[in-house]
Symmetry: C2
Subunit: 489 residues, 2 copies
């Protein structure tokens, strides 16, 4: 698409000036509307070296209040980023509602450069494209305005600009080795960019090719495009977006009511098994660490189902330098102002580490659904968004273990009453717990829907029958061991 | 994506039977909901020859009421279809609301076969992919449920099945030359299919790969997928869909109020010019016909602006065998039950012909908008849908000329009064015309928005100043001549 982009003739200088003035004033106005409308705006600048991205961006932000935007330059990934999934470094940089983020360089650069320099395989390239498409779509579905600009100059112009920069010692430092290499391999680059742009040119996040030969014209194109983008986003504000057809392989799973909860272990059986399992897990953890395999363990369950004690039995078998437990409470304001998965993306383990989540992203389709903390459209969309999220983790190589810790209603009442009547346990029981209990049936319905819609082959649920906590703990340990062994073998 | 599709193990025979029974009953139930919900459903079956598409489809429709569905086999394009844009043969086959269409073969086959047999160029292939993506998206945006299935078998299985069919003279006729060629070139085909599936795997219309080695399992996968698709469509029913960012090159255009309407011609000038222009146009029409270039001329304008007389002056210069005039009234029920552009797709000229539209697809953003015949989301979306439609025509090679026939309010009143008072003109004036006149300002606002948002470089508007009808007629003729000459040169 780069090769056949230039369909608009450059207007006369005078027309450009007039339109620039109008557009600058409009951008000033629209930034306020973006803030008031709480729209998060992510603007990506990509393109050829020396095409003038930086200088155009510099002019554009002159029309804006510095409190409303942030410019992020994406350089080589850090040590930490290299040990996270591909999308991590981008997901963690998404703006808050009402703010602009300008990304100078982004996922394009990474994918295209690696394709050309490291020769990543077709299958790996495809997986990246799929990740990018899903990422961009889920941002858009969650109200983000995502705008993608590609600054284009031809080879001759690039050579001319590089030569000019090099000829002056005050500017020569601005020409990188990468720029030189790109200029030498211009044709290879244009092919790779073109393929990439075609592959990621989505209706919800289209590419705009900026004719960057003429600087004011480049600025005008970008300004006018941003303004129409903002106007479109304002129009879409608050509207539901379509729920997508499911494309993930699902496996049948029984309903909660059909799960027998009478499984139990004696104290002796428990002690013996616990000891064996924890020793085994401890060894496996070392191997995982050396092989740099990440593990994500997710816990969900009714109040007082025994999640805490269960997690403790797993954690105590692990080397503390190699795992974290993430207790998930209700989101803080800066978390609420971003995509609901942001606070989980930013809590992922490094490769070789284990992250245990005490409550998870599934809150979206349980408590947030039932308490009305999100719209119906939000939680209906979330099943797919969660399946996509877990697919990213799985493709990254993570072992994903999802526990539903199950008890029956009577058992919950017993445990609540015990907590209430035991002074050192009273902190564990709140009025909210009692209120949730009243909604047991609604929760059960939501959980059944959740289990059914997110029981993917690559991240299946495991139900822990926890009327007997001992049984549940051993089952959890054995499950974790089995899943790790499967991957290590 | 074909190569790594098989993520679900085939269940036991018994489980397949149980799930089949449940799924068949559900489909029976869902077809009623589809009818009641007025959802149009388009199901496409693609895949390798001898993969058993036909036999699975035969089983699926057994669960359905024959009044609710239609099976269409897409063969080689007809003579008429070859003289229409690529999407024509598919657009004309879209189902009515509440009905299912099963397409056995479709746009995939055409694109992939032509790629392999005729070696269409990369740029042509890209253009087709873009067309397909837009087509599928606009259907989805307009409430269509589009489901795409690819029936997959490996080379060994295909060879086995073909051999078996050939060995019996009662079935050997079912093996086509294409099937044989495909089996011989299986690896080429799988690569081409894989690329195509990747290129068109959209969130709003994803591909489903059906493991077709085992027939009952194939049927089950398809049934269960269709059911979740229908459930998703029912959930989306009636919801707005996001308005898209504009990606088409637009040119500035003045507002109606800023257009001076005092241009006029004397009777003598008019007569002389008319004669010259019509002769010229007549000759050009012959050339167009020989060069097989299609022309679309669209007329819009206020009531009594002089559209009819203007069209007459164009038409009378043309060879009647090479043009049609399409007067566009309000849509009939079978038209209203389809995508709003369907009745225009089915009225396109053949290559070498001229279609003149007296009122057009722009009704969506004028009368349908102002009279509430469509939702706000519908008409807001339509600017882009129209730009896409005209892009298809332009890429096909059509010359597109769009006239806005402009008069001022006083002139309209004069002409209305004259019509009212002249017995032989009274049929031309209705109460509706007077009612529309009361909404002049609202119409003017809608027209200004329309002109601004659809004045693309490839299909720009031409305003005909028609306070003096003579002037407007000559300007129209000259415009048509100029646009045709531009292309013929």
């Amino acid at each position: 698409m780069i090769k056949k982009w230039n369909e608009v003739r450059i207007p006369e200088e005078k027309e450009i000036e007039e339109r620039l003035e109008a557009a600058r004033a409009k951008l000033f106005d629209r930034q306020i509307k973006v803030k008031e409308g709480k729209i998060p705006v992510l603007i990506m600048l990509e393109g050829f070296g020396a095409a003038g991205k930086g200088s155009v961006l510099g002019k554009i932000i002159k029309n804006m209040d510095p409190r409303f935007f942030k410019v992020e330059t994406i350089d080589k990934p850090s040590e930490d980023e290299l040990r996270k999934p591909f999308l991590y470094k981008y997901f963690r940089r998404i703006p808050e509602a009402g703010r602009f983020s300008f990304l100078d360089g982004g996922w394009v650069d990474e994918v295209v450069s690696e394709k050309l320099h490291k020769g990543i395989k077709e299958q790996e390239y495809r997986a990246r494209i799929d990740s990018v498409k899903r990422f961009e779509r889920t941002l858009s579905d969650n109200g983000y305005l995502l705008m993608k600009f590609f600054f284009h100059i031809d080879k001759k112009e690039q050579t001319k600009r590089i030569d000019k920069l090099l000829s002056d010692k005050n500017t020569s430092w601005r020409v990188s080795h990468e720029d030189m290499w790109q200029n030498k391999n211009y044709n290879k680059y244009i092919d790779a960019y073109d393929t990439y742009l075609n592959d990621t040119n989505q209706s919800y996040a289209p590419w705009y090719i900026i004719d960057a030969k003429h600087k004011k014209w480049a600025e005008l194109q970008m300004l006018e495009t941003i303004i129409q983008g903002i106007d479109t986003a304002l129009m879409n504000k608050g509207n539901a977006v379509p729920i997508l057809q499911n494309v993930f392989p699902l496996q049948p799973i029984p309903k909660l009511a059909d799960i027998s909860l009478d499984k139990e272990l004696t104290e002796e059986e428990y002690r013996a098994e616990l000891d064996i399992c924890q020793k085994k897990l401890s060894k496996l953890h070392n191997k995982l660490y050396r092989k740099k395999i990440p593990v994500v363990i997710a816990y969900e369950g009714f109040d007082a189902a025994g999640k805490g004690g269960n997690i403790k039995r797993i954690a105590s078998a692990l080397d503390p330098r190699g795992y974290e437990v993430n207790p998930i409470a209700s989101p803080e304001p800066h978390e609420k102002n971003r995509h609901f998965l942001w606070r989980f993306w930013t809590r992922l383990p490094k490769s070789g580490h284990i992250s245990i989540f005490d409550r998870t992203w599934y809150g979206r389709v349980m408590v947030e659904r039932l308490e009305g903390f999100c719209t119906e459209n939000d939680w209906q969309r979330a099943y797919n968004e969660i399946n996509e999220f877990e697919k990213e983790l799985s493709d990254w190589g993570a072992i994903i273990i999802k526990f539903w810790v199950q008890i029956d209603k009577d058992t919950q009442l017993e445990r609540f009453t015990l907590r209430q009547n035991t002074p050192e346990k009273q902190w564990k029981i709140t009025d909210e717990d009692w209120r949730n209990r009243e909604k047991w049936d609604l929760y059960e319905e939501a959980v059944n829907e959740m289990l059914q819609k997110t029981n993917t082959t690559y991240a299946p649920w495991v139900v822990l029958e926890s009327n007997d906590k001992k049984y549940a703990r051993i089952k959890a340990l054995k499950t974790v061991i089995k899943e790790i062994e499967k991957v290590l073998d």
